[in-house]
Every structure is written in structure tokens, then in C-alpha cells.
């Protein structure tokens, strides 16, 4: 694999003191909560961005906020970098450590602390997985809305770190719109509470800036999230179109007609073929673009909405319309879409890009994307959240061929720049991490970036928290 992305040089003085640091950490947490044997450190070397790995100094897996605070206080005192980690499913390298850093893994803090139906909140420890919140309240008719495809594994702390989204965010918003409060350990070990069960927070919206800060402002140990009453039912419909343009203008007209479905997912022909071969979901193979539109509500409501949507699709020359008639069919429609990453992984290595564009630019960006991919002699499959313009080109390549890998990486960067130039941004849900760090200047001016870094410095003046990430290494305050 390439090593195009640089990390900060590890601090030799810290590396030299490794043994001492491990001994000191052993005083702060029980022995089984400290990982330091080289072989045991291997699983923490990388995250979902597998192309890069670094072995951390040590890994601490605390069980309490007090332990997190003690570790932070210690690392702060000695200037030791800390990399927070949830489940390590980041696709942008957000949780990849560096050699002189202590990884602070929250996975052991996985208790649901409070479920409050009267106020429709759940308070959970940071290591609780996204799906287990919905599982815990599902039988009582509630759910937690943001639903990343990784929801079985990823943690609420990691979701807050990345401000994660998912297919159903069109209606319910992303993490930041569903987060009411956090317990946050600051870089020096101070514990603060931001927000709580009240719907609005007081003073500056620090909760808003912590959400999506990729482990750079503090360690989240607990979170209070909104629960929402489950709709009576939900039903996806599959639409096949002869062109991406037709699918795109259908989406625009649905929204223009005053209908906001819960999800509008888009797949291009290569993605349809890959998913169908794997999931046998019955996707049409004679179309250029496919939309999965999901509506929810009572039977009567869904009927009414679907009738309008189908009508609009017909006006755009839809070739295939498949309404799911049963729960089984609905599950099958989603299975195809949800297996996109896994199915692609079976036929080739791939990198999953994550840019957003204004809806009106979708067709243009898809066209340009295929031009870029052709120029590099690669293949691409596109699946994405069309309702909010969040594109996920999967660039296929051969991981064992360094030149191919370098081409894939370079093509990916061009596509992200294209998204920005089309009025969008570098990342809609996977974060900047190390992956897009050096493209930040493409989206922001030096002044814009300096203002963000200044806010970062208000929380962490010495840049101890996850320091290799998000901001270009040059020009930091």
C-alpha cells in the first residue's frame, strides 16, 4: 500500500520512556484494562481505513469516567498524545494511533445507564453500540434514529466523534440532531457536562462543536440521546431508471411535491450488478440507475405517499417499479443495498469515498466521476444517500499492486475535489481523519482553517488529542 499520507514524527523522548509510562498507567487502571504487549497491540494498529497502521505506545480500556480522567490528567502532564477509540470502524483513519500515543478505548464502557420514556431520552456510556440503543427500546415502540451501516459494531462515542449518519437521516437528521448531552473529559482531566435532558443547551453550543470533532476536543464518556416513537410501518419501493439524470430529477420532484421520505438511496449500474449477484434481491439489471425510496406511517399514509411518488416517477419515464408487498420483500430490497460494501469486497479491493454535493449537481458529478475513473483505468460503483447528496463512490482496485493502489488513492482525491468544486464538501459522514486531512485547504481558506484550529486550541492548547488528524500538519496554531 502507499504511504502518501504522513503522520507526525513520534516524539523520541516519549518512545524512550515507554516502559515507565506503561508502569505509571498500571497505577491508574486495573491490570486487565491495560494493553501493552506488542502482539496484543496489533488489533489497535488500524481502524476501518486499513491502508495505514501504526503501533501505539499502549492501550487503556477504562471502565469509569474517573479512570478516563486519571489517564487524561497523566498524559496531559507529560505531553503524551492520546487517541480516543470506539469500535475502530472509522473509514477515514480517525482512530488510527501513532507510535507515541496512548489509545484510550471506550469499548468497555458499554452500559445503558438510563432509559426515560417520559422525556424520550436514553443515557448511555460511550462504548454502547449504536444498534443496542434501538434494541433496548424497540419492544416499547421507540428507536434511536441515526443508523450508520456499521451500527451493529460502531459505538455512540465514535458516532459523536464523526457526527455519523445513515440511510434514514433524510427525515431524522444525523447524530448532532439527536444528541442532547454528553459527559466530556477535557484534556487536563476536568470532567464537564454539556447539555442534558433539556432540549436546548445554555450558553455557547459547545455540544454542537464537540459532535463531529473526531476526538480532538475531549473524551466523551457518556451521552444522552433522543429516542423517537417508531412509526407504525415502513415500506421501501424500488424504481429503475434509464439514466442517472432521470433518477435525479425524480428525487427533486418528489421533494418539490412536499413529500419527505425517510430514505432515498441511489445505486448506479455497477453497484446494482454487484449487489444483485451477492444478495439476489431481485434488482432489475436492465436499468442505469436505481432508487430505493422508503416511506413510513400508517397503511393509509404510506398508500397516499406512494401513490404520489409512483406518479412522479412515471413522469420521469421510470422503467421498473417494485412495491414491496410483504415484510420479506421489504427486507430483501434493503438487503441488496445494505450489502453493498460486503458484496463489493468480494469481487475486488475498494476504497469507499464520502463526499457530498448539492442535489442539483448529482448527475454532473456522477458523469465527471466516471471520466476521472476512466482516466485512471479503474472501475467504480456508486451507492449513496440521494436525499441529502451524500455520495459514496466505491473505487475498485487491486491491493497487491502498489501502482493500482496509488491510482485509486489519487482518483479518490480528485473525486473529492470535484465534490467541493461542485458546491459540496469533502465528507458527509466518514470524517476527515488522516484520509482527507491534506485536502482541507481545498474546501477552506487559511483564515477559515485558522479559526477552526483556534477553537480546537481553546480545548486542547498543546494538541495532545488525536493530533495527526483533521487539520493539515503545516500551519497549525
Amino acid at each position: 500500500m502507499t504511504e502518501a499520507i504522513k503522520f507526525l514524527e513520534p516524539d523520541a523522548a516519549i518512545l524512550a520512556r515507554r516502559k515507565e509510562i506503561v508502569d505509571d498507567l498500571a497505577e491508574l487502571v486495573p491490570p486487565e484494562r491495560l494493553v501493552h504487549e506488542p502482539v496484543e497491540l496489533v488489533p489497535f494498529e488500524t481502524d476501518g481505513f486499513l491502508a495505514y497502521r501504526r503501533r501505539p505506545l499502549a492501550v487503556v480500556l477504562p471502565e469509569t469516567t474517573a479512570q478516563v480522567a486519571a489517564v487524561m490528567k497523566y498524559c496531559h502532564r507529560y505531553g503524551i498524545p492520546v487517541v480516543p477509540r470506539g469500535a475502530g470502524t472509522s473509514l477515514s483513519g480517525g482512530a488510527i494511533p501513532q507510535e507515541d500515543a496512548v489509545v484510550l478505548g471506550l469499548s468497555a464502557m458499554s452500559r445503558i445507564l438510563d432509559i426515560d420514556y417520559a422525556n424520550r431520552t436514553a443515557t448511555v456510556q460511550a462504548g454502547v453500540t449504536n444498534l443496542s440503543i434501538s434494541d433496548a427500546v424497540g419492544a416499547d415502540g421507540f428507536f434511536y434514529a441515526p443508523d450508520p451501516s456499521s451500527q451493529l459494531a460502531c459505538t455512540i462515542g465514535g458516532n459523536i466523534g464523526m457526527n455519523s449518519g445513515g440511510a434514514h437521516c433524510l427525515k431524522y437528521g444525523v447524530t448532532t440532531n439527536n444528541l442532547l448531552g454528553v459527559k466530556l473529559v477535557l484534556v487536563d482531566g476536568t470532567v464537564v457536562e454539556l447539555g442534558g435532558k433539556a432540549l436546548d443547551t445554555a450558553g455557547y453550543d459547545l455540544l454542537g462543536v464537540v459532535c463531529g470533532s473526531e476526538g480532538q476536543l475531549g473524551i466523551v464518556t457518556e451521552a444522552t440521546v433522543r429516542l423517537i416513537a417508531k412509526p407504525e410501518g415502513a415500506r421501501p419501493v424500488l424504481f429503475g431508471f434509464d439514466s442517472a439524470e432521470a433518477a435525479g430529477s425524480c428525487v427533486a420532484d418528489v421533494i418539490g411535491a412536499g413529500i419527505v421520505p425517510v430514505a432515498i438511496e441511489f445505486m448506479d449500474k455497477p453497484a446494482i450488478e454487484i449487489c444483485e449477484a451477492f444478495a439476489h434481491a431481485g434488482y432489475p439489471l436492465d436499468v442505469e440507475a436505481l432508487l430505493i425510496v422508503e416511506v413510513e406511517g400508517s397503511e393509509a399514509e404510506m398508500e397516499a405517499m406512494l401513490a404520489s411518488i409512483v406518479e412522479i416517477a412515471r413522469r420521469h419515464g421510470v422503467r421498473t417499479v417494485r412495491e414491496s408487498q410483504s415484510a420479506l420483500e421489504a427486507a430483501l430490497i434493503w438487503k441488496g443495498r445494505k450489502s453493498a460494501f460486503g458484496a463489493t469486497g468480494r469481487i475486488a479491493d475498494y476504497i469507499c469515498m464520502d463526499g457530498t454535493v448539492p442535489l442539483g449537481q448529482l448527475a454532473y458529478v456522477l458523469r465527471k466521476t466516471s471520466e476521472i475513473i476512466d482516466r485512471y483505468g479503474l472501475r467504480v460503483a456508486n451507492v449513496f444517500h440521494a436525499g441529502d447528496g451524500n455520495m459514496h463512490p466505491l473505487i475498485l482496485y487491486n491491493i497487491n499492486d502498489p501502482e493500482d493502489a496509488a491510482r485509486a488513492e489519487a482518483a479518490g482525491m480528485e473525486i473529492l475535489k470535484l465534490c467541493v468544486d461542485a458546491g459540496g464538501c469533502l465528507t458527509g459522514e466518514h470524517g476527515v481523519g488522516i484520509e482527507k486531512r491534506d485536502l482541507m485547504r481545498h474546501q477552506y481558506s487559511d483564515v477559515d482553517l485558522a479559526q477552526q484550529m483556534a477553537v480546537r486550541a481553546a480545548f486542547d492548547p498543546a494538541w495532545i488529542l488525536n493530533p495527526s488528524k483533521v487539520f493539515p500538519l503545516e500551519g497549525r496554531e
Binding site: Y117, A118, N119, R120, C169, G173, T176, V192, E193, G196, K197, A198, L199, D200, T201, A202, G203, Y204, D205, G212, S213, A229, K230, P231, E232, A252, I255, G258, I259, S298, A300, E301, A304, T356, V357, P358, G360, G387, D388, G389, N390, G424, C425, L426, T427, G428, E429, H430, V432, K436, M440, Q443, S445, V447, D448, Q452, V455, A457, A458, F459
Partner: protein, 405 residues
């Protein structure tokens, strides 16, 4: 009389702020001035107005996004949205009636105070709709943050920080925000005769149903007659709103009414009365009483609003009604603001915050308008403020946060 500076461009605004920063000369930031008298008083020899920065820049209804200059009047924005069957989902209130002010609210002022109405309980606050901003910080630098797409996690979310910062971090020059289709129709179920506590339970039960209640408010006897020109049925009114497409509202209202039978007798309001009622709730109609009697906006966990009022009633003269299922309590005090006791009770009931929205000049001079923060949080907020406005020239003193302790 403070001099008024009205830049015609963002560049000019930046020059003015840079010049004032160099001279450490404070500026009061002003939109339409309809909130004049909100927050703590600002001492500044000059006022910087956004009124020269006006106009809708882009609006594509199919993308559900609008970009406008900060000084654009809310009326102009709403008219443009209305023509396309869309609206700001967070239902920004018009506080002119309670503040006794005139003038035209601006879109920048609205986001600067993070205005949010009854639909906040499902659609979020103004900050949840704000996607991107341009602003001039206290150095006189022009900064852009966020973008114009629904999902954006590129770097730190300074957009949220600017929302609700009351002009203390920068002068907003441009805002990009999400808009939604305006509900095609709406209906309200009125439950009559419930006391505050029973109403709180009924509202929680309604919000737990799969019928998407988009507004839940309780109007005790003391205020009820001031809504709908006295047209609500006998007794305290607990009101629940359902919105959406015709067919869907009809079905959901049936279900909601059936489920609410066990709490009280119910009546229904059609779309016209629903529109009027919720506008009156949004704009705090009962306390648009032409007085300067202290008015608080209290945000607590929805189940605690009623307990807070019950406790306060034992100690002082207070009149109140509840929005957001009790999570937003509007309180008018008989005479004194009773800030100390109110804030103590809020802490005892699990936290939240109280904002003094209206009071006489004398009261405002002695009572902090915003909730005082814990020391560690106050320090952090001050450090953040210093990163935007190190000289402290932007609305000094308006929020307690950011002021030297």
C-alpha cells in the same frame, strides 16, 4: 446617541470591525433590533447594523436549501418560501408582541439567537437547520464555515457555535439553511380539564405514539382564554398538533383522539384554528400584555416543567404555560424576577436553564439574562470567545459567557 454603522458589503463590515479591534472600541451588533432589550445591556459607542447586507442569494426548492445575506428580513424569506410551499421547520417566533418592539426581524438575528418555536420538539431548533455561515470575527477576518448540503462533517462544526452566540463571536453576514415542505394540512386535538401534572403525563403518552405529534403544549386556566380569542373549550387546555398530507393527518388524528380518551374529553380544531393557535403559542401571546413584568423562558427536561412551576408557586407569584411537552416553560412573574430561587429550583430538578427575556431596565441591570455556568464550563466558553474576539469588542457583556470572570 450611539453612532450607527451600516456597511453595504461584507468587505466593508470587515474593515469596520478591524478598525474597531485596533482601537479596542466596542460595537453593538444589530439586526432588525426587534430583540433590543434582550440579553444583558451592551455598552458601546457604535452600533454595527446588518441592514445593508440584504437579499436572498440562492434558493432551490428541490434542494430544500436557501442562502441569504444576514440582514434580509424574515418576512422576505418567509414570503419566498411560502410561494414554493416551503417553510423554516423550526417555526421562528416573532417576539415583537412580548418585547413591545417594532422593526423587522432579520434572518441573521434569528440564527444569532437560535430562535425556535413549538415544532422544536420534533424538527429541532434553528441551529439544527443551519447548514453554513459566513461571518466577520473580532479580528475583522471573513470566515466561512459549514456548507450548503445536509450532511457535512468536514472539520469542526463552527456553524453550531455561531447559532445562539448572540453576536458575541462574529457578525453573521450570510446564512445557509435547510427548509422543508410546509405541511399540507394540520389539526389539533384539545384535551380539556387536566391539571398541569396530568397534562404532562398525557403529553408524554401522546409523544410515545406512532402518530408524529408535532406540537404538544399545555395552557393552564390562567392563560387559556387568551388563545383563539377565548375560543377554546372550558377548563385548562392540553393541545396536540398533527401535520402532513391530508389523508395522513385524518388517519393520525383519529388514532390520537382514540388514545387520548382515557385522559380527558377531547375536541378537534381544523387547519385554520390550528394555524392561529400555534402561532399564538409560538409568539407567547398571553404575556404580550404591554407590561415589563419579568418574563422567563425556561428550558428543562419535559417532565420537569410542571414540577418546577408547582414548586415556584409555593414561594412566589408566577404565571406559566408549557410548550414542547413541558420542556419549554414561559413564566411571567408578579413583580420580582426571583432569579435566584428559580435557578436554584432548576438545578434541584435535574438541570436546564432560564433566560430572562423581558424585564424593566432596572431589573435587567442587576439580573444576569442568561443562566450562569459552572466554573469549568464558563472558563471553556471564555477561551472559545477569546479565539473569535480577543479584544472583546463584539457585543461585550451581552452573554455572561465570554466575559472575564
Amino acid at each position: 446617541m450611539a453612532s450607527q454603522l451600516t456597511p453595504a458589503t461584507e468587505t466593508e463590515a470587515a474593515e469596520i470591525i478591524r478598525d474597531h479591534a485596533e482601537r479596542a472600541a466596542p460595537l453593538e451588533i444589530r439586526g432588525g433590533g426587534t430583540r433590543a432589550g434582550f440579553g444583558n445591556a451592551v455598552q458601546a459607542a457604535a452600533t454595527l447594523s446588518s441592514s445593508g447586507l440584504s437579499g436572498i442569494l440562492t434558493y432551490n426548492p428541490a434542494e430544500m436549501v436557501m442562502t441569504a445575506r444576514a440582514g434580509t428580513s424574515v418576512a422576505e424569506i418567509e414570503a419566498a418560501l411560502d410561494a414554493n410551499g416551503q417553510a423554516m421547520a423550526f417555526e421562528p417566533p416573532d417576539h415583537r408582541p412580548i418585547m413591545g418592539t417594532t422593526g423587522e426581524p432579520t434572518i441573521g438575528g434569528l440564527f444569532a439567537v437560535n430562535a425556535s418555536g413549538p415544532r422544536r420538539i420534533t424538527a429541532g431548533a434553528a441551529r439544527d437547520s443551519l447548514l453554513g455561515v459566513r461571518f466577520v470575527n473580532g479580528h475583522g477576518e471573513i470566515v466561512k464555515a459549514g456548507g450548503r448540503v445536509m450532511k457535512n462533517v468536514t472539520g469542526l462544526d463552527l456553524v453550531k457555535l455561531m447559532a445562539g452566540s448572540h453576536g458575541t463571536l462574529g457578525l453573521l453576514t450570510e446564512v445557509t439553511f435547510k427548509v422543508l415542505p410546509r405541511p399540507k394540512t394540520a389539526a389539533t386535538i384539545v384535551l380539556s380539564g387536566l391539571d398541569d401534572e396530568a397534562a404532562t403525563h398525557a403529553m408524554a403518552a401522546a409523544m410515545a405514539l406512532p402518530v408524529e405529534v408535532s406540537g404538544a403544549a399545555h395552557l393552564p386556566e390562567s392563560v387559556k382564554s387568551r388563545f383563539l380569542s377565548g375560543g377554546l373549550p372550558e377548563g385548562p387546555a392540553t393541545v396536540l398538533r398533527v401535520e402532513g398530507l391530508e389523508a395522513s393527518v385524518a388517519v393520525r388524528v383519529e388514532k390520537l383522539a382514540a388514545a387520548m380518551q382515557r385522559f380527558a374529553s377531547t375536541t378537534r380544531l381544523g387547519p385554520e384554528e390550528t394555524a392561529v393557535l400555534w402561532r399564538e403559542i409560538r409568539d407567547v401571546k398571553p404575556y404580550a400584555d404591554g407590561t415589563m413584568r419579568p418574563l422567563w423562558r425556561v428550558s428543562v427536561a419535559p417532565s420537569q416543567g410542571e414540577k418546577l412551576v408547582a414548586a415556584l408557586r409555593l414561594a412566589t407569584g408566577v404565571d406559566a404555560f408549557y410548550d414542547w411537552q413541558g420542556g419549554l416553560v414561559w413564566m411571567r412573574m408578579e413583580a420580582d424576577p426571583e432569579a435566584e430561587i428559580l435557578r436554584r429550583y432548576i438545578r434541584a430538578l435535574g438541570g436546564g436553564h432560564a433566560t430572562l427575556v423581558r424585564a424593566s431596565g432596572a431589573v435587567r441591570a442587576s439580573v444576569a439574562a442568561f443562566e450562569p455556568q459552572e466554573p469549568a464550563l464558563a472558563l471553556l466558553s471564555q477561551r472559545v470567545k477569546a479565539k473569535f474576539d480577543p479584544v472583546g469588542i463584539l457585543n461585550p457583556g451581552r452573554m455572561t459567557t465570554g466575559e472575564p470572570a
